[in-house]
Every structure is written in structure tokens, then in C-alpha cells.
């Protein structure tokens, strides 16, 4: 993958929230890239900074949050410092977004057709009649039955799953190269989740769209993503190929997360859980932010913060691998991946 030019590159991204009691660092030194057509899963607990990363990429951080450092590059072009109007032209056209709750992401006062047409006319050289024909095509593509009639329906006339299909059509209708999907299935019934994920996956493959899939559901990641980034307290703690992270999670936090996937094959008395809670942004401990909860914590973790280093074929920010990150072990790890 490294020889292909990435569609999205995030370098040392830092997002800050100035508050009355001082500046909170919501994202710190976040770096990753996504290749064309690749699906990158981003997992972590609530508040780890997953959604924040997505919001920073589409330039829609909630004020007073702001990008305080680092770069975001879309096909090699910096987009984090663009003026609002320039970035607006990129949103929807080059980067599509899917949000969590389909019941609230559609404007209740406009028909789904009107919202699709409006999006396409804004970005593509189409007249309204052409846009309407395309809108019907898109609704068919995302699996809305009787699309030609349903195009004039209002959002409240669709079920939750159908609305999320409409949202997917809206995100994809200007044919962006990258989709930022923020918990696209969390608000849906379990039976619908699999359908929507399958749809997203299929459309992304057909259109060659890269995707950043933010979720806290490891099952969804394991099924959909090519690579996965695990986030904790505003940082990426582990990143690697999805199969390898699931099987050989290097960071104690990631292996804790993987342990929380309910296994289908064998019966467990009790599912594993990670004790404690993620620290608040105002009280991130010194050293490794995971040290209060880590079962393998040792002296170094309390004083020095680990950077990402090769570990078990992935990259993990954990001192356990400081000594093993020798060329020999590294090569062995890379062969796994």
C-alpha cells in the first residue's frame, strides 16, 4: 500500500479546546493515512477522539475546538488551513460524511429528493431535471424500493434503516473520493446494521471510494475495515492491518478491546472487560495515558510517554515493545502483516 499515493494523510494533528480553566487537548499527535479504496477503521471508547478526528478532517469541529497543529492533506493538498468557502467546495464533493443518527441528520421539512438534488446541483454540473434522474438512480442504488415514487417522500415517511440509506446516498451522490462515516450503524437495529454495513462496503468498493469508518463496535471493524487505528485519550495507541490487530493486538488496551468481542465459537462464562474509565481530557496522567488501567504497567510507563513503535507486526505506543523493536524482530513482525 505504501507505494500508492494516499488519498488522505493526517500528520501530527492536534485539536485544542480553549476553556476558562485552560486549554484541553482533545487530539494529540494523530497521524495516519488512507489509500484510495481503503477502509480504515477507527475504534476506541467514547471520548477517545474518534469522532473529533472525523470532524477535523471535514473541517466541522464544534467551536471553540480548533486545529492547533499538524496537517491534513487530501491527495497531497493541504486542506486544514483552507478558508471556509474553499473547504465548503471540498465537503460533499471530495469528502462525504455520514453521521450517527439517521433520524436527525435529514432535514424534516424537505423531501429526500429535494435534499439529494440540492447536494448534486451544488457540486456537479447538472440541471435540476438531470439531478432528479440521478437522485432516483442513487435511491435505487442504496436499495430504496420504488425509488421513483419515494423520491418525493419526506424523511419521516421512512424507517430508520431506510433513512440511513438515504444519508448514504446523500454522502455519495457527488462521488467523493473519501467517506468519513461516524458511527453509521450505532443508532440502527442490530438486524439492519449488517445490511447497512454491507451496503456501505459494496458501494465503496464499486465506486473506489476510500472510507474512514469511526465506530466503537469491533465487530463492524473486523468485518469491514482493511486497517484499524485504536484511539485512546486523544491519541492513536495502535494501528495496523485489521486481521493482525484482531489476532495479535500489541497494545494492552487493544487486546482488552479485542477481548470484548463476543466469540461465536465458544461459550464464555463472562466477557472480558477493561476496568476503570478513560481519563478526562483535563486529567490525563503523566507518562502513558493508559497506565492507571493497564494490567502490564511498569515503571517506565509512569514517567515517559511512548510513541508508536513496531510491535507484533503493527505499530503500538507501548513501552513493552521498546526492547523488542530490534531489526530482527521487526522484520519478523512485518512478515506477519
Amino acid at each position: 500500500m505504501s507505494d500508492v499515493k494516499p488519498i488522505l494523510e493526517v500528520r501530527n494533528l492536534r485539536v485544542e479546546f480553549p476553556t476558562r480553566r485552560g486549554t484541553l487537548v482533545a487530539l494529540n499527535d494523530v497521524s495516519f493515512s488512507i489509500a484510495p479504496g481503503e477502509v480504515l477503521g477507527v475504534v476506541g471508547e467514547s471520548g477517545a477522539g474518534k469522532s473529533m478526528t472525523g470532524a477535523a478532517i471535514i473541517g466541522l469541529l464544534e467551536p471553540p475546538g480548533r486545529i492547533a497543529g499538524g496537517q491534513i492533506l487530501l491527495e497531497g493538498r493541504r486542506i486544514d488551513n483552507l478558508p471556509y468557502q474553499e473547504l465548503r467546495k471540498i465537503r460533499g464533493r471530495q469528502i462525504g460524511a455520514i453521521f450517527q443518527d439517521p433520524l436527525t441528520t435529514l432535514n424534516p421539512l424537505y423531501t429526500v429528493g429535494a435534499q439529494l438534488i440540492e447536494t448534486m446541483v451544488t457540486h456537479l454540473p447538472l440541471n435540476p431535471a438531470q439531478a432528479r434522474a440521478k437522485a432516483i438512480e442513487w435511491l435505487e442504488l442504496v436499495g430504496i424500493p420504488a425509488a421513483a415514487q419515494r423520491i418525493d417522500s419526506y424523511p419521516h415517511e421512512f424507517s430508520g434503516g431506510m433513512r440511513q440509506r438515504v444519508v448514504i446516498a446523500l454522502a455519495l451522490c457527488a462521488e467523493p473520493k473519501l467517506i468519513v462515516a461516524d458511527e453509521p450503524t450505532t443508532a440502527l437495529d442490530v438486524s439492519i446494521q449488517a445490511q447497512v454495513i454491507a451496503l456501505l462496503k459494496r458501494l465503496a468498493r464499486e465506486k473506489g471510494t476510500a472510507m474512514m469508518l469511526v465506530t466503537h463496535d469491533m465487530g463492524v471493524i473486523a468485518e469491514t475495515a482493511d486497517r484499524v487505528a485504536v484511539m485512546y485519550a486523544g491519541r492513536i495507541v495502535e494501528i495496523g492491518a485489521v486481521r493482525n490487530v484482531v489476532k495479535h493486538a500489541a497494545h494492552p488496551y487493544s487486546s482488552g478491546l479485542m477481548g470484548s468481542i463476543p466469540p461465536v465459537s465458544r461459550r464464555l462464562e463472562r466477557m472480558q472487560q477493561i476496568d476503570g474509565a478513560m481519563p478526562r481530557l483535563s486529567a490525563i496522567p503523566k507518562g502513558c495515558p493508559y497506565n492507571p488501567r493497564c494490567p502490564k504497567v511498569f515503571d517506565r510507563c509512569m514517567v515517559e510517554r511512548p510513541e508508536l513503535m513496531p510491535a507484533e507486526g503493527n505499530l503500538a505506543a507501548c513501552w513493552l515493545y521498546a526492547d523488542t523493536a530490534r531489526p530482527g524482530r521487526d522484520a519478523e513482525g512485518a512478515a506477519h502483516g
Partner: protein, 327 residues
């Protein structure tokens, strides 16, 4: 849709009948019309004759039924004070009040909505802060004081605008309008501002609060994420979603403007219904008072019906099951 209108009209009937009962009760309990009409010297025969002529010896419900039938035909009897048919008096005065009220409402909407949108979008700009401070003045100053201050400034000191009356009017059929003449328009300015200022600040604050609420919603964030222009996001998506409460309040306030233009009409000696009403109260002119009461009730009911119909136009979620009465 038609079923909805019919059901609303049917719901309005008990309201109107209740108000009719109240205005009818005024005749019986506020003063004695027989005593007023007979004066000081009368015989018992004259008194009985008059009671029979007026139908006052008939049972209560027969009297009330006659009152309702007459009222439905716009027949309210003679004014005690002016000895002219009440319907004529009101028809003479209604255009002045309606013109004033509609101008005031239009002013409040035309200025209040954009100000509300602006202060909602740019919460922290100095202009927004100025608007908010200004609106506080509008909300807290009593109407008569605003009127007097405006007269002092624009009529007494600057001498630009008339301080009282309607100016010249022209007649379109039975409707006399001040909108057709220069002096009529000039006379309309100060009373409209006086009457509309409170509504303006109310609408501005309402639109602002609703905008702040709507701008936080996911569908606005999603509209931005789709790369729509600011104009489309702010006016197409955000403003339209603030309209339902704005329509409700504007409707209720329009009724209030018409009904309670009394203060403004008194300050500016505006020859409208409010001034007629206050003069009638002074003279215990019950037929005028009771007709005014009924008319105002009718206006509120009509405005509420229009408001409900506007909801239908704005919000598609209300359209399903519309025929089933209450929504």
C-alpha cells in the same frame, strides 16, 4: 384538508357562542338599558311597553337566541351614545385599526426576522449585542411612553411627522384607506412603530433563540457536511425550521395588536376601533362594547385557523392524519 377546515370551524363555534353569551350578559348585568332609555319621568305603562318592545319580558334563552341570530347578521342594535347602528360605527372604524395593525405586524416581521437571523448567526458580533440591548428597551418600555417619546422627537422637535390622526383618506368602496395619500402614509409611521416595536423585539428574540437551537441540530451539521452554501444552510434549512413557532407567536400577536391597539390609538388619537371602544366604555355604551368583544373573538378564531393552515404548509410531518382533528 377540507375536513380539517370544517373540523376547526366546528371547534370554533362553541368558543364564539361562549363569547356571545358573555357579551349578551353585559346587557343584563352592566346597567339597566330600560332605565337609561326612559330617562327621569315615565309611567309604569311606558316602562312595560318598552320592555315588551325590546323583548326583555321573554325567557333568557329566547333573548339570547335572538341576539345570536342578529349578531350573526352583523346586527348589534343602536349605540346608546351616538344613536347610530353599531355595525356602521364599527365598519367606519375597522379599516383604520386593521391598517394600523397590519402595518405594525409587517414592520415587526420585516425587521424582526432578519435581526433574529443575524443575531442567531453572529452571536458575538458587536451589532448583535447592540440589537439585543435595543430589544430589551423595546420589551421593557411601555407602549404609551414609546408613543409619547416618538411624538416628542419626530413631531415636536423635528416636525417631520404628524402627531395625531390618520391624515387624508380615500375610499375604496366602504373601506377608507390612508395608504393612498402622502399625508395618510406619513400619519401611519409613528403609530405603526409604537404598536409594532414590542412585537418586533419579541419576534427578533424568538427567531434568535430558535436559530441557535436549530443551528445545533444534526441536519444543519449534515447540510454543511454536504458542502451546501451558507445561504442555503442558513435560509433554506435553518430559517425554515424556525418558522413554526414564529408563525404561532406572530398569529397570536396579530390578534393582540388588533385587540389592544387601544393605547396606541388613544395616544395618537387614531380613529380606530380601540378609540371607539375606550370612548364607549366611558359612556357605558353596551351595544358597542359587546359587538367589539364578539368581533375580537372572531378575529382570534380566524387568525388561529390561518395559523393552523400555515403549519400544514410549512411542516410536512403535520400533514399525515390531518383529517383526524387535533394534531
Amino acid at each position: 384538508m377540507f375536513a380539517f377546515i370544517v373540523s376547526r370551524v366546528l371547534q370554533a363555534l362553541p368558543v364564539m357562542l361562549t363569547v356571545a353569551l358573555l357579551s349578551f350578559a353585559m346587557f343584563a348585568y352592566v346597567g339597566d338599558p330600560v332605565a337609561i332609555m326612559l330617562g327621569q319621568d315615565y309611567t309604569e305603562a311606558q316602562r312595560t311597553q318598552l320592555i315588551a318592545d325590546l323583548g326583555l319580558d321573554q325567557p333568557f334563552f329566547v333573548q339570547f337566541f335572538k341576539f345570536v341570530v342578529n349578531a350573526a347578521q352583523g346586527e348589534f342594535g343602536l349605540s346608546y351614545r351616538l344613536s347610530r347602528p353599531v355595525a356602521d360605527l364599527i365598519a367606519e372604524r375597522a379599516p383604520a385599526t386593521l391598517e394600523l395593525a397590519l402595518c405594525a405586524a409587517a414592520l415587526a416581521l420585516a425587521i424582526g426576522v432578519p435581526m433574529g437571523v443575524y443575531t442567531g448567526l453572529y452571536r458575538n458580533s458587536w451589532l448583535s449585542r447592540f440589537f439585543l440591548t435595543f430589544s430589551l428597551i423595546g420589551v421593557s418600555l411601555p407602549t404609551f411612553l414609546i408613543g409619547i417619546l416618538l411624538i416628542l422627537t419626530f413631531s415636536v422637535w423635528l416636525g417631520w411627522l404628524p402627531s395625531f390622526g390618520r391624515g387624508d383618506t380615500i375610499r375604496w368602496g366602504w373601506w377608507s384607506t390612508g395608504l393612498g395619500t402622502w399625508s395618510g402614509l406619513k400619519a401611519l409611521i409613528l403609530p405603526s412603530i409604537t404598536l409594532g416595536l414590542f412585537q418586533l423585539t419579541l419576534i427578533m428574540r424568538l427567531v434568535r433563540a430558535e436559530m441557535l437551537e436549530v443551528l445545533r441540530t444534526d441536519y444543519i451539521k449534515f447540510a454543511r457536511a454536504r458542502g451546501l452554501t451558507n445561504r442555503a444552510v442558513h435560509f433554506g434549512h435553518a430559517l425554515k425550521n424556525t418558522l413554526v413557532p414564529v408563525i404561532t407567536i406572530t398569529g397570536l400577536q396579530l390578534g393582540a395588536i388588533i385587540a389592544f391597539a387601544i393605547v396606541t390609538e388613544t395616544v395618537f388619537q387614531w380613529p380606530g376601533m380601540g378609540l371607539l371602544f375606550i370612548q364607549s366604555v366611558g359612556a357605558a355604551d353596551i351595544p358597542v362594547m359587546s359587538a367589539y368583544l364578539l368581533l375580537i373573538a372572531l378575529m382570534f378564531v380566524t387568525i388561529n385557523l390561518i395559523v393552523d393552515l400555515l403549519y400544514y404548509a410549512v411542516d410536512p410531518r403535520l400533514r399525515i392524519g390531518g383529517g383526524k382533528g387535533g394534531h
